[in-house]
């Protein structure tokens, strides 16, 4: 009897605690729509990034540079706040965004679908697209001659960043008989390739042009056996956030005063920069 009573009491205590927690968890007034007010109050916003050239990377002086870095800083300046960056695992990007740990996915983020076919616009609100990109295949440079058709990749081991636009391409190329490995960041795919643990990687062409065949990756090369559909980069904001409009406004200003074109030229991305931003 004593045991039953104590069990009941314990259950009651747990229930009260849960209730107490639940009742103090009423969302703050405004919820996601109050993002701008919160960012203004804090004085900064956080962009979730992975490190790779030419978007976000550390230069020789150990300063975070790159197109997206300077772009975010320019937008922040327009808004009168500061841009901060945090390195994340790409697969955790929606978790980071929805929990409020970051405010934007701003790292060469492709406007398109997840590899399972779900439109990314189900998860985020996109700003205007700003750069043209496409996925591309990278292989060891001594394999360029043998891996020269789309079919040659069937049955091989491919990798792409988990949750990236390249995922679907890599899966498709490797086919049923091959394997596909999702990795934490695009640069990890290059590392796997260098280590020989995979046969091909699918990454952003803008990144491949900036990193493959040089520096630490001299023995790798872009493989043009197959060119996937072109795509565009845009910034991912929290669903329903009032920041989307704010960022769009700032982007248009940066286009108008030529600042965006200037940054693009600095990173040799002038050709990739979308003309007439905001009109499509």
């Amino acid at each position: 009897m004593k045991k039953i009573v104590s069990l009941l009491l314990a259950a009651l205590m747990v229930a009260t605690m849960c209730f107490g927690l639940a009742s103090c968890n009423t969302p703050e007034a405004g919820g996601e729509t109050g993002d701008w007010a919160k960012i203004q109050e804090r004085g900064y916003f956080y962009c979730g990034i992975t490190l790779y050239a030419p978007m976000n990377y550390y230069n020789e002086e150990d300063v975070l540079v790159g197109f997206d870095t300077e772009f975010a800083q320019a937008v922040a300046e327009e808004l009168g706040v500061e841009a901060k960056f945090v390195t994340i695992t790409w697969g955790s990007k929606y978790l980071e965004l929805n929990s409020g740990a970051i405010d934007f996915i701003w790292n060469g983020y492709t406007f398109g679908d997840e590899s399972d076919g779900t439109p990314r616009s189900n998860y985020v609100d996109f700003t205007y697209a700003y750069l043209n990109n496409s996925q591309c295949i990278v292989t060891a440079s001594n394999k360029l001659a043998t891996l020269n058709t789309k079919e040659a990749f069937a049955g091989l081991r491919g990798a792409a960043e988990g949750g990236s636009a390249g995922e679907a391409v890599a899966k498709d190329l490797a086919g049923e008989s091959g394997t596909y490995t999702p990795v934490a960041a695009q640069t990890n795919a290059l590392m796997e390739l260098k280590a020989g643990t995979i046969d091909f990687a699918v990454i952003d062409v803008l990144m491949a042009e900036a990193m493959v065949g040089q520096g630490d990756f001299t023995d790798l090369a872009i493989n043009n056996a197959y060119t996937p559909e072109p795509e565009v980069y845009a910034i991912g904001c929290r669903k329903g956030s009032d920041m989307t409009a704010k960022i769009n406004e700032a982007i248009l200003k940066l286009v108008e005063n030529g600042k965006l074109a200037e940054i693009a030229a600095k990173y040799e991305l002038s050709d990739a920069l979308i003309q007439n931003i905001g009109e499509n």
Partner: protein, 220 residues
Amino acid sequence: MTFARINAMLLEGFGTSCQLFLLTLVLSLPLGLIIMFGSTCKFTPLRWLTRTFVWIIRGTPLMLQLFVVFYVPGMLFHMHLFPSGPEGRFAAALTAFVINYACYFSEIYRGGFGSITRGQYEAAQVLGMTRWETFRHVILMQVVKRLLPPMSNEIITLVKDTSLARTIMVAEIFFINETEILTKGIVWPLFYIGVFFLIFVGALTLLFNYLEKKLSYYKV
């Protein structure tokens, strides 16, 4: 990247790991004691509640707890318990680590105190010692001596568990290595990191050996 540069980056990451280790240790040792009082309490509901809590914490992966502490409040309730940025991530990781390790420590404590036979308390009472005197002069050092080996085990595990903090992007040594060094195709730092941990755990082992020797009062 130069050796000096990589060295500086790794040292910074290892600094974060060490901070996480030390703070977790300092905070979870006393918290473990409090949890032990709960799980040995004569008030049954509290005892049940504490033991259920210990069961949940010891029964779920630390990785899951890290996710829950850092992401879930924001996602489900728009409640931001931890400030955004590296400090907030570190605080979240520390919270998860302290709760997790306190539960393990509480069970080690419970084992330690439970191992003292009732006869010793009775003997002390016959000799006219107060409860505090009994605890201070008879029980405490015996318990400490018995706690030391399992505690050192758990503490060494904690040193290496700090790498789990990368789950929520805390810039500890492995996260830095993976995002900034390994991705450039540089492999040797992996072994170098191994040396960091070997030296750290080696120092801890020497410390525990010394303490055990100090406490080995049965040996003549």
